[in-house]
Symmetry: C2
């Protein structure tokens, strides 16, 4: 296992990426509060540069690489948002970005990678294909790997969103973050440990890709056996670093069905007039469908991204 | 013709509806600025209560009715946004709202009217059917009519959005507002006359419902002969009040195709992560497709509404 990051690393990341990332707004909706009987505070990472929180981790990684001397190329595999974020963070520093993407990644995410100057190599939609294709690319391009989540530079970067949220909204009872590979959830856990260890942290996961819940309950890493969820950002499985932090700091992981995810996505669109991708709506789906946990509480909801193909 | 409203009426409306409506944010997008070569300032009425600017006019009308003693019921015909706005403004004051809607009005708009307690009567999708159905409703319910646009209480209310925009963003060169029945465009014209008569005002209209452009150029009211546009909020024709104000104060009316409207709608979703209805994207479509008028200018864009059925 690489070095496990610590809470202090999130504060360092925050200083490192200041001025590179957007401090995103925290928005509320009376309508949604009425529906769920909680006070919800949405940390709007769909409004982050590149349309997701992933730009925080990628910026932290590139900034750390810059401190030791930038490589000519960086490379990763990504269902899309990390790829776009890495492409932008790299191109802002004159570095090439090689992105391995599943052939069925949403069109809008592939376009974004290309718009930021990233070079895409397609692969099949499973972890084995991603990893072997990436290995080829790393060797051929002599690139430095910047993994999407299981990385001590990425995790603290993702945690900076929760730092901003908890500073802006006092007295949160709970924070809910989506969990795919676990970079955002474990980074959020570290962020809460810096000043707010009393805030309860809950992971939100699609039932159709519930490896984090099963790993959490079994006490050992269990890779995903199915990933057929509309929440395309949450199809990946935990890594050893993210799992260790989630085991240590997260209270529980709650799951939701595909129908519940789509319904929450639609609610955010209709009530808040914001474009959110299904992965980003999973925490609201959890709040709406596990109301006994959240009723009467002040809940921070990490709305992780907004890169979704509009269909019309 | 009823009394033609004057610029002062917009200032009065602003005082009357303060605390009832939301002061909406003005947002920008570097990405969109780069695409069109202008500096764009979006007045986000999609984030207004009920999801459109229509709540401003409806609130002003209800507040004026309140000054003389509220009726038991109000009634209107509306493709949707005015209906929802009137239903909410009425219900906030304990008044019934009877809304005549075309049977093909978007589902989300019909649901909104009902959610705010409005009572819908369906009719065919043409002005004649709307008016005759409304006449029946007005007689049967002894309701007070609050028309959607051609009304001296509605026009000044709609103009308050531009007041807020011009106070917040100094030195705008141009303002672009969509035109359907003309309430928003004529109200905006009055607002600019209060302090900023030098700001050029341009109307944005779908080519497929270009009665305002044809009326403007002919110097007389020419009702729409076709209204087959995806911009469902702009299918209506000008009234005598709105036409008189538009003739007096508007520089020109520019049109865009259906494809251009959908492309602009998509751009706002993708780049700003905001849900906008096609009618609300018509001004951006005009800026993108008549770049010679806008290049290098500071442009206020009235993003009129966000009530759009997400399809997924």
């Amino acid at each position: 296992m690489k070095n496990l990051p610590v809470p202090e690393d999130v504060l360092k990341a925050e200083n490192r990426i200041r001025g590179h990332i957007s401090v995103t707004p925290v928005l509320t909706s009376n309508g949604l509060d009425n529906i769920c009987g909680s006070e919800l505070f949405f940390k709007c990472e769909n409004l982050q540069k590149t349309g997701s929180f992933k730009f925080r981790g990628a910026s932290n990684a590139l900034q750390m690489l810059q401190e030791e001397g930038l490589p000519k190329s960086v490379a990763t595999h990504s269902s899309g948002n990390h790829g776009a974020a890495l492409a932008r963070a790299a191109s802002e520093r004159g570095v090439n970005a090689q992105i391995v993407m599943p052939f069925n990644a949403p069109e809008v995410k592939q376009q974004a990678v290309q718009a930021y100057g990233g070079i895409i190599t397609h692969c099949d939609s499973n972890l084995e294909a991603r990893e072997s294709t990436l290995k080829d690319v790393l060797e051929k391009q002599e690139a430095e790997e910047v993994p999407p989540y299981n990385d001590p530079r990425i995790i603290p970067g993702q945690g900076t969103a929760a730092l901003e949220l908890c500073r802006e909204i006092k007295d949160l009872d709970l924070v809910v973050a989506p969990v795919g590979g676990g970079g955002l959830l474990s980074g959020t856990a570290l962020a809460l440990q810096t000043e707010w260890p009393h805030i309860r942290l809950i992971g939100a996961e699609p039932l159709n890709a519930d490896d984090a819940k099963r790993s959490f309950e079994a006490g050992k890493l269990i890779p995903a056996t199915r990933t057929d969820t509309v929440a395309d950002g949450l199809r990946t499985s935990l890594g050893d670093l993210t799992f260790a932090l989630i085991q240590k700091y997260v209270e529980t992981i709650l799951t939701v069905t595909e129908k519940q995810i789509l319904s929450a996505t639609r609610l955010i669109w209709q009530r808040m007039k914001m474009v959110v991708e299904p992965s980003g709506a999973v925490p609201l789906a959890v709040v709406l469908n596990h109301q006994e946990v959240f009723r009467g509480k002040k809940v921070g909801v990490i709305l992780s991204g907004g890169n979704f193909d509009p269909v019309f």
